[in-house]
Amino acid sequence: MAHLQGLKVKRNSVLPGFGISLGFTMFYISILVILPLSTIFIHSVTVPWSKVWETISDQRVVASYQLSIGASLLAAFINVVFGVLIAWVLVRYRFPGRRMIDGLVDLPFALPTAIAGIALTTLYSQNGWIGQFLNFKVAFTPLGITLALTFIGLPFVVRTVQPVLQNVDKEIEEASASLGANRLQTFVRVIFPELLPAALTGFALAFARALGEYGSVVFIAGNMPMRTEITPLLIMTKLEQYDYAGATAIAAVMLIFSFILLFVINLLQWWTNRKFI
């Protein structure tokens, strides 16, 4: 329904202040989001197109796109699976320490990301507390990057799914059971579709956050060109070398890519929602 209302605005709506509130929203979004982002494109236009293309299609840069996007997608996916599980446990069961765990979920939000990066590196480096027991390398590999991105993205999924799960009507589960469905069928066919829009939102948020993450990754990544160098780090490197045009060109590519992905996720969300909204 929302998409319909967006198309034809009623002239005499019951809710007052449509004009002024929409006007303010547009102004605010412009100042806060569109203006800073458009400077990126304006900046990269100042250099010749061939130069831009050379920068953004450089082998090392392309490898970093692959790593950044791949690791972010993987981390967001892991977060959806385990975030839904954690939200489920927090909502459905009562146990001592529940509030503690509930509070811990937010910690990756509150922690300065560099601290998270240092802590994870200490744990997972080859002679770290956990790293020494593993016969494969975690720190300074794409696996380590994914780990850090999973860490910082966790709260997004839990916090979007939790309230939705809380509002899932107990009766639909009872109805499902009375119709002969087992617990797994009830979860897969009845509960999960209710959670899907929220899980998608959580996925989009976790993914977007992971794509831009810098602080926690640089420590655990090792930053080896072609292997463990993420795009935000490349941008930083370019900036440090006063190559502003190069930095903004890469940023523009990331921006376009993120925008396309978020748009696709939004479409998916609209598609899952259209049935009952």
Binding site: A175, A177, A181
Partner: protein, 356 residues
């Protein structure tokens, strides 16, 4: 499938929701559990469905003990007050759900499922709505879908929890007629919970009146309405007038007023209350020992019956009398008139710890 409810008790913390409930329900019966909110009727229904466990007692379907069997295996159809439809599924998928989740061995083929669903859609008169989502349906339509969904698995027992509670008066009446007809056609043992006495009396074969976790009375609608066995049932099923008095020589006395109470012939000098339905009272112009003086305060003519409110002259209590229109016309009563009110059929109870 007959249902035996044996000595069921259930408490939530210190609150005793059900206290030693025993009911026998015959195969093909339509039974109403009637009571005010908090009387335990919904808890009892949920225990029968296996959605809740009793602290004590047993539930038998036929000869089979179901007490420890979970909901999934009980093969009951359950209809919820707020429909509990799966909102991300179409009407078709909602109804087909119970068949689709069966293990592969017993699952009907796709074609059989489709036939079954369309048969049920026809039954609930929603053929045109197969591909709609519940969001687009009205309350009455949603409840019909919920009913079709419950019937799709061919349950041995149909349980309905205030099925028409969330609907408006007209739809409610239509649906309960329709439920009665459905039950007569399919002969499936059904139990429904309601707090609406009219609904229970209208639809059910037998009514179980419940109060505070106990059964007050079980009987046909006629029995419970005509012969309530407790003051509670009198109050809960329809309107009632109270005549307070004292028992003496098999008569209930109050001042000059006295009526026969033969069942209390042996009881002397006890406070008692006589209960009379509004339509079991006649209005007279002449004084007599078994009538009380009253003044007509309000006359309300609606439909075929005339409701008359009176104020007793001795105590100032309100009385309610229902007359047929012809009788009312022949008496030619006017508001403000002084008349005599005579209970034709009065049932006497000695108040124990019961208070209203």
């Amino acid at each position: 499938m007959s249902i035996q409810i044996q000595n069921i008790s259930k408490s939530f913390g210190t609150f005793q929701a059900l206290d030693n409930i025993t009911i026998d329900i015959q195969t093909g019966e339509l039974v109403a559990l009637l009571g005010p909110s908090g009387s335990g009727k919904t808890s009892l229904l949920r225990i029968i469905a296996g959605l809740e466990a009793a602290n004590q007692g047993a539930i038998l379907f036929g000869e089979e003990d179901m007490t420890l069997i979970n909901t999934k295996e009980r093969k009951v159809g359950f209809v919820f007050q707020h429909y509990a439809l799966f909102r991300h599924m179409t009407v078709f998928d909602n109804i087909a759900y119970g068949l689709k989740v069966r293990p592969r061995k017993t699952r009907p083929s796709k074609k059989e499922i489709e036939e079954k669903v369309y048969e049920l859609l026809k039954l609930v008169k929603l053929e045109a709505f197969a591909n709609r989502y519940p969001f687009h349906l009205s309350g009455g339509q949603r409840q019909r879908v919920a009913l079709a969904r419950a019937l799709a698995v061919e349950p041995k027992v149909l349980l309905l929890d205030e099925p028409f509670g969330a609907l408006d008066a007209k739809v409610r009446k239509e649906l309960r007629r329709w439920l009665r007809k459905l039950h007569d056609d399919y002969q499936i043992t059904s139990i429904f919970v309601t707090h609406d006495q009219e609904e229970a009396l209208d639809v059910a074969d037998r009514v179980v009146v419940m109060n505070e976790g106990k059964i007050e009375q079980i009987g046909t609608p006629e029995e419970v309405y005509e012969n309530p066995i407790s003051p509670f049932v009198y109050h809960f099923l329809g309107n009632v007038n109270l005549f307070k008095g004292r028992l003496h020589n098999g008569k209930l006395q109050h001042g000059s007023f006295e009526v026969d109470a033969p069942e209390f012939a042996g009881t002397e000098n006890r406070e008692a209350v006589g209960y009379v339905r509004p339509h079991d009272i006649s209005i007279e112009r002449e004084a007599s020992p078994d009538a009380v003086a009253a003044k007509i305060s309000y006359i309300h003519i609606v439909g075929a019956a005339v409701q008359i409110e009176l104020i007793r002259k001795d105590e100032g209590d309100f009385l309610e009398v229902e007359l047929t229109k012809e009788h009312f016309r022949s008496l030619n009563l006017k508001s403000g008139e002084d008349v005599y009110v005579k209970p034709k059929q009065l049932r006497v109870f000695i108040p124990e710890d019961y208070s209203i």
